[in-house]
Amino acid sequence: MRLEPQFLKQVVKGIALTHSEEWNCDECFDQLDCFAEMVLAGKPAAEAMPLVQDHLDLCGPCREEFEALLDALQQLNAE
């Protein structure tokens, strides 16, 4: 059995990004509004909220929601 190299690479990266404490999707979502406002304000959000950043690095759907929220806030602020 040979698993696909690209899949294996993703698993390897996921393993390397693993922390003993991680937040789940709802815990990340709970802080996502504060995190997004910090990012927009140019503040070091990842340092202030590392558990949010770690989750976003590992979870595609939550990352998509975060990026969509950022898009919305940026354009609403520009109105």
Partner: protein
């Protein structure tokens, strides 16, 4: 639109005569959703998704308003709720005809030498290191994970299935499934470290491509 403070939003939405505030929030959410979704959704479906999501989000926001802690702007919090609802619905539609079993691993028979490794600007030493780690991880996937952990990891990482969709098919929720995947990753990380491979070195070696 008037710029309400968080307190003004909460008071207006909680008052008996909250129709005006609801209408304003609905319009705000629709603008927010359009900005959030326009590059992510088929233009033909965008308007309907925005309408439906704004309506669902209003109900959710009214229901969950007491959980808003005031640490961000109320409108940011409300946008977050609406965007999650919309993207969840979008994923549900995109994946409704796909079963977990459809996303099985393929036996490629590939050795890890060709293009996949050589297309990045990696040194021969790094390529050797990558090959070692990938072989070891493949073995760990096949020997240390439960069949369910393996199936879910493949469905999500290879098949691209969103975690919420995988959870629904397994009769569980995304948080529980995330925990299961975390346990699987942690277990493999421990095994790699026991074999002398550190996470920092691995990240460095795999940072390209």
């Amino acid at each position: 639109m008037p710029e309400y403070s968080n307190q003004e939003w909460l008071e207006a939405l909680r008052s008996a005569d909250h129709n005006e505030a609801l209408a304003e929030l609905r319009e705000y959410l629709k603008r927010s959703l359009r900005y959030a979704l326009s590059s992510r959704v088929d233009p033909n479906r965008l308007d309907a998704l925005i309408e439906d999501s704004a309506q669902d989000a209003l109900l959710r926001i009214l229901d969950k308003m007491d959980t808003f802690r005031g640490e961000s702007r109320f409108t940011t919090w409300a946008s977050k709720v609406a965007i999650r609802l919309a993207l969840t619905e979008l994923r549900r539609k995109r994946w409704e005809n796909v079963a977990l079993e459809d996303l099985v691993p393929e036996d490629t028979g590939i050795d890890y030498t060709p293009a996949v490794l050589t297309d990045t600007e990696t040194s021969p030493e790094q390529q050797t290191y990558q090959r070692e780690v990938m072989s070891l991880v493949e073995r760990l996937i096949m020997t240390e994970l439960t069949p369910r952990q393996r199936q879910v990891m493949i469905a999500i990482l290879k098949g691209g299935m969103p975690i919420g969709e995988a959870a629904e098919r397994l009769g569980t929720n995304p948080n529980a499934l995330y925990k299961m995947l975390h346990d699987a990753r942690q277990r493999m990380k421990n095994s790699l470290e026991e074999e002398g491979y550190s996470a920092d070195e691995i990240l460095e070696a795999f940072s390209k491509g």
